[in-house]
Amino acid sequence: MKTRYRKVVRDLTHDYSKNLLLVLAITIGIWGIGSILGGYGVIKREMRDNYMGTVPASATIELEDSISVSLIDSVKQLPGIKEAERHATVLARMKVGDRWNPLLLFVIDDFATKRTNKINHISGAVTPAEGTMLAERTAYMVMNAKEGDELIIKAPHGEPKKIKLTGTVQDAGLAPAWQEQTGYGYITLSTLHWLGEPQSFDQLRILVTGNQHSAQYITNKATVIANWLKTNGHPIHEIQVPPPGKHPHQSQMNAVMTIFIIFAFMILVLGAILVAESMATLMVKQVRQIGIMKTIGAGSFQIIRLYGLMMLIICVLALLIGIPLSQLTATAFYKQIAGLLNLEINNKDIPFSVPLIQIGSGIIIPLLAAAIPVIRGSRIPVRVALDNYGVSKNRPVAGSWLLKLSRIAGSSEIFMLSIRNIFRQRARLMLTVGLLAAGGAMFMTALNVSEAWNKDLQKIYEQRLFDMEVRLQSAVHADTVVNAIKEIPGVRIAEGWQYASTSFVKENNYEVTRTYPDKGHGSFTLQALPVPTRLLSTTIEEGQWLTATGANDVVLNQSARALSPAVKIGDPVALLVNGHTTLWRVIGFSKDYGMGAGAYVSLNAFTDQLHTTGKINMIKIAYANRSKAYAIQKNKEVESLLERENIAVSASIPVWLLKNAIAGHMKVLVNTLLSMAVMMGIVGILGLMSAMSMSILERTREIGVMRAIGATPNKIRRLIAGEGFLVGLISIFIAFLLSLLLSFYMGRMIGGMAFRTPLSLTLSFPAIIIWVLIIITGAYFATFFPARRANKITTREALAYE
């Protein structure tokens, strides 16, 4: 090995504890990037492959009547249609323990030759015989059952029946059952009839030829088919065109991953800045050695290469640790996300580009960051290097306003000296403060956002003054049943409502929705409630809440407004309900947490328009106590009452279940954010440490002089610690301001995904406290060792240190 490279290696191993910290700083960045990019790479690929593998229908046309085989055959003959199938989706209920929970039944025409929205056979029967059912693999958890077990289920119009679970499938187009808190079952039409449900296939799924990726193209095609169906005597209820080629959670996933990737790169950039700072320290420390090397014949470029090599070795070490580590965490990460999205990971390969990006950024970013100090240090003229005075002499002491301020505050001489010192190297001060502030801002943001998330989750409870929502299969007379429920001890309030799936009426008369086959994602519900209601406390963003019992007023929530963004207060809107057009005037816009698109109208006005006066199909109930245990107990009593009264329930949704479902969607993401916060904290402390040791190093001689004129080691330690704390304090202040901005944007993104409204801007008090503590302890440790080292050097040595 060339002698000069020996020096590089020797220097690295000589001060190895410090260099290990540098390796650590870069490793963290590389690790973060690799985990996120690697996990995301697999998820993105598998999400697409899984979803496209199901051959999702381009559009689903819901008919008012049932679809015959011959109709399907005729549709298949129409131009531009590649595939047509009939289907039905029925919301039934299943008995889990002694509770009735929602169960989505997918009625499939032909299991063996299914050509759209395919399901993966996993085990057991391929086609369920009459009286048996296949279950989605994630549904067993909410069914509290396993393959081969029997489950009591109840179709809306039928009696409870025992059904055997004879096989398991994976349906990549659905969110996991536990997340939605809903069971998924797959049955044949004969089983549906066996369950006592009279309906037949009413959904026509089509796969178009041509541009499969344009929603507009698909919509046009589907409209043509719908027109054809209508002229042939088949009225249309609704056309559903989910975003083509996009998994229901695709855009959420992209948005969240973007945040994570930005965070991960930030960590690497901060790590790189840290390394640059340490490189600058090293250059100062070795400036004399540089002078010597130049004296004995080394050119500037040779020196640059020498220190560049040093950096490179640090980066390569970091890569050697970071890449394998990140492959492990990326695997753990994609497994978590795959669980969240109900994906089957068929190909576990982390994209090859990920380690390449890691290598590229793990070398380029730190090298770029270190380039300035390395080049500047290497090009220092020999004489200057040899009689290095450290801190530039002709720079005036900055921050005089701060000095004045501190004088007014009556601080000690030592404190003032600290202030003077930190302002001596303005560039480095800015770098260190920037590093700490960015770290702190991200730390606080992560905690702010997760607290905001919890707070807004809580709003699901706060807006719903009820604890249980019971959806009835068909409308019943309100008085008897609601009064009976009110009689149950512990029931505080019970109100009869109506609900209906709805859509804005457009010119072509069929509503084209973006609803996915699970009927949840992308749906729009109308709720008709008694005015005034005591069970809803929605947040009005604009206009007003419903006050007139008889008026045809409507309040739209933010998701409904997004479906028809041009609508203003005072505008008339037409909503299609069960094939009837209902007319309303918009009086307000609300902000709802934990529900899809929704429209609120007065129950009286609604039943007047639909001629269903006195009827309800939904009961909302508030209990005396909002705890989950109490709610479970009371829900049971309500359900058995309804059973005795012979009232068919299509779904009963306890509010706590809803909250769990929404929390489940985002938990992993919030946790990932938190772990990023921890990484930021580590990088921040390393940064403060390196900055402090640099600033002390530069002043070794000055410290010697101070010692010579009588400063005790204790005074010097206080001086140095004072500097650390001051830098920390400034950074905390900036971090706090930055975190406000960041929290706002992150909250807008995450809130937008979960609730379609920004998360409330929340300041996590613990976040500030924890960060202040981290900075204080960090500053203490960051200054303790350098101060001890400075004090260990004898006065004579310090003075000789030129």
Binding site: T3, R10, D11, I296, G297, A298, R383
Partner: protein, 228 residues
């Protein structure tokens, strides 16, 4: 022309002015100096008289504000920083008061380093050459130690071996004995005297009167000017 063949080093009208916060300071004032090959020259003078500045200008470590520096036919003051480094590595061996060995390299490696930087000897020969130089300065047995393990006198010997690594015609030493006891200092001076006998030109800054006997000629500086 005739002068050039005998004068290895030729300084003419050298001035050096340092800019200071308050005005400037002239450290060298119109110096003319010739040093011929094979001489052992002493530069003496009080502290602050400009000795180090003069040496720095000769070695190209610093540039004169005015005047020419001609060494071995090369206008040193005209070279760029990178040309200077390569030129100095091959033509001038520099010895410092505080030895200035690189602390993380062994003595042997310190001596091999200039050859590495200047790419001057075939790689395979460098080690043997360095060992030979170390035995010349009598510390071959210390070759594999780190500088911190050596005494001051031994470190200065190693530094001289390093200065000789590229076989430069000129050696420049700024108070090489200033940090050594008088006995060790004398041994170092002996070493320099031996090198001059072997054909090197050696220029030494010193205040020590005891070593006057070693020098062929003496240049005395006072306030940046030569006194005769």
């Amino acid at each position: 022309m005739n002068q050039q063949s005998t004068s290895l080093i030729q300084l003419s009208h050298i001035s050096k002015t340092f800019p200071l916060a308050a005005g400037s300071f002239q450290a060298l004032k119109d110096i003319d100096l010739e040093i011929s090959k094979g001489q052992l020259v002493a530069i003496t003078g009080k502290s602050g008289s400009g000795k180090s500045t003069l040496l720095n200008i000769m070695s190209g470590i610093d540039k004169p504000t005015a005047g020419n520096v001609l060494i071995n036919g090369i206008r040193v003051d005209k070279l760029t920083e990178s040309e200077l480094a390569a030129w100095r590595g091959k033509n001038i061996g520099v010895v410092f008061q505080f030895f200035q060995l690189l602390p993380t390299l062994t003595i042997l490696e310190n001596v091999m380093l200039p050859m590495d930087f200047c790419n001057s000897y075939p790689r395979k020969e460098r080690r043997d050459r360095a060992l030979a130089l170390l035995s010349l300065v009598d510390i071959k047995d210390q070759a594999s130690k780190l500088p911190s393990a050596l005494s001051g006198g031994q470190q200065q010997r190693a530094a001289i071996a390093r200065a000789l690594a590229n076989d430069p015609p000129v050696l420049i030493a700024d108070e090489p004995t200033g940090n050594l006891d008088s006995h060790t200092g004398a041994a170092i001076m002996e070493l320099f005297a031996g090198l001059v006998k072997a054909g090197k030109t050696v220029i030494i800054v010193t205040h020590e009167k005891d070593f006057a006997g070693y020098f062929g000629s003496t240049v005395s500086l006072l306030d940046g000017a030569i006194v005769h």
